[in-house]
Symmetry: C2
Subunit: 374 residues, 2 copies
């Protein structure tokens, strides 16, 4: 059984440069940070059993409000005992607010001060997402960590438009917080989201305003949307000093192993990304020696595994030749094994980062690791 | 480690009516009969880990010569240590001859006395399959039980055509046997295949001729191709008395749970079929209370599992509501869980049949079981 606590907390254990080692406490257990959250979009981390996700070392997973509100529906999940019971994951769950997917998946949408009206990409049904409804849905799902509804815009955008979206997101943060305070269960947390594109001044204003509202954690949203790693890191460097050191920082939707290392190096504590599973389905494996494209003919007769030292059976026990064959043949097992490899690698990476911080050798570790994997 | 023996054998342990309990000994271990062989078409039982196949109770799996000869290629599999090593299954493997798939999958083919010339359905490359080459390929794969190349024709067909194909298959059986005797490893076995459509006289002639060649086991081919259960069973009843009781009988490509029960009742020892995994991928579960279509809206809020008594975690621990959601969402995990449910159910069914034979109550068991599952 998981330890159940009714309070949310974050404890900073140690630092190595700006890199932070911490413990996040939630109603469904403790999360070691820096943490990578595997993405369980519609209530399943694609092509994996949750047992594998847990055994790989993941303390927390992410689920998508947009997907779950459309199918099976938040009220239905609540009637079935909440998302933990529904998808059989008894650890912490973070849910996003749905805002990002509305913009990326729903072709028909209308933004207003009140919220966003849109049509389901599945069946065309009409829905309205407001800051209050996003909190409602996440309460129905039973998320340990909720995200406020924010307005995500595509970059590049006019400065005026970036500012308008940032300010709207701040007003939505206030409304989300008020809704959350009356509806959430003990120990659950709501994070605010810093917006403002790649404009340092807008980001600073967003961070300052959110910190003024006193959230238990802060996310940096609207990055890793095509601006490139350098600009992402520069934006991060502008934002993080304005966030309290006593609260967790979550960089949404990021990223590659290199993105993770360099962001932790700048003080980020939490991440989520579909990359490990999506790349796995497409035959691309992450390893300590860099990316391996299993579709490549070079692997066709290679009896060696991806990584004989790996903690993951999929990386350790299966030949590259077999993985190549499975991926070329479009077999389920290819996607299953490589999603597993990558999910485990991302957790190994986070564990290695935590060890390097604990031993105060993060920069040296990062340099050495980046030289191997990039 | 599996027990390794260098001789093939079949021991009939007991009977209940015509139903037979036996043990098949192969170089990679013992198979309890009646046995159902999960189908690992291209070297993977679709959407399952082999650990799950083994834990479900399967002693032996089937792989398809046609698929493997085209991709990754028999010589390549041999260079990689054989099929057992390649796909990580250390139990017995039966391979078919490729003949059936040439007819069903390759659009361009040309039949002659020598063999069948065809083009790959994957890349259009040209191949020739002869009785000797089919043996060669199966030797390269390292199959414990090989099948002779036969000519499968679509039913209904002209009696003249059925007879011609049956006689050609007999000549190919002789050629296969000669090739096998010079090339196979100790303990491997080659089965002959009885053909002759639904014509009792042709079937009898085919069986008698094959028995005259003294194979270590006999398959009944060309059934379950649309003729209906009644005609299939009647044909079986005509064939089985002409096969020696001391040798295993394998009904190829069959079938539904009802088909299996009624065929065991008539003296069949071995089966293979894609039904459990294919139906699983499509949302259809086999249970002791009959088929369950998880796509059906009736399951959308049902928190109960498919079978709380099941030995299979997928049938026991996951709600119908979650399975419904996964299947409706087209998620990998839906296919994975239901393929697992069905593979385990088929093995539970075989285990129950073996128990009923051992206790000499097969007919009573069959009647009771059929009344529940049909």
């Amino acid at each position: 059984m998981q330890e159940r606590v009714a309070s949310f907390g974050f404890e900073l254990k140690s630092q190595s440069g700006a890199a932070r080692l911490g413990l996040l406490t939630t109603p469904h257990g403790v999360v070691r940070t820096p943490a990578f959250m595997p993405v369980g979009t519609v209530g399943t981390v694609k092509a994996l059993y949750f047992d594998q996700v847990k055994a790989a070392g993941a303390d927390i997973v992410l689920a998508n409000t947009y997907h779950l509100m459309l199918r099976p529906g938040a009220e239905r999940v609540a009637r079935l005992g909440g998302l933990h019971t529904f998808m059989r994951w008894d650890g912490p769950i973070l849910t996003d607010s749905g805002g990002f997917q509305v913009m990326s998946l729903s072709k028909i949408r209308e933004m207003s001060e009140e919220g966003v009206r849109f049509r389901s990409h599945i069946d065309g049904s009409r829905h309205m997402l407001t800051p209050e409804r996003a909190v409602d849905i996440q309460c129905l799902l039973g998320s340990d960590i909720q995200m406020q509804l924010d307005q995500c815009i595509e970059l590049p955008a006019e400065p005026r438009e970036v500012e308008r979206a940032m300010e709207l997101s701040l007003r939505w943060a206030e409304r989300a917080k008020r809704a959350f305070e009356t509806r959430a269960a003990p120990g659950q947390a709501l994070f605010g989201i810093v917006q403002g594109g790649t404009d340092a001044e807008l980001r600073r204003r967003s961070a300052d305003a959110l910190v003024g509202m006193d959230f238990p954690g802060y996310a940096v949203g609207g990055l890793a949307v095509g601006e490139g790693q350098e600009l992402m890191l520069r934006t991060l460097e502008g934002v993080l000093p304005h966030l309290p050191t006593t609260k967790p920082r979550y960089l949404m939707g990021v990223g590659t192993p290199s993105d993770l290392i360099k962001s932790v190096q700048r003080g980020v504590d939490m991440f989520d990304c579909v990359l490990p599973t999506r790349n796995g389905r497409h035959g691309l494996a992450f390893t300590w020696n860099g990316k391996v494209n299993l579709r490549n003919a070079i692997h066709a007769e290679d009896p060696s595994p991806l990584d004989p030292q790996s903690s993951c059976p999929a990386a350790r026990d299966y030949s590259r030749a077999y993985l190549h064959h499975l991926i070329r043949s479009g077999e389920f097992l290819g996607a299953m094994l490589l999603s597993w490899v990558n999910t485990a690698f991302y957790q190994e990476l986070m564990a290695a980062m935590r060890a390097a911080i604990a031993e105060d050798r993060f920069d040296a570790w990062a340099e050495e690791t980046l030289s191997k994997i990039e």
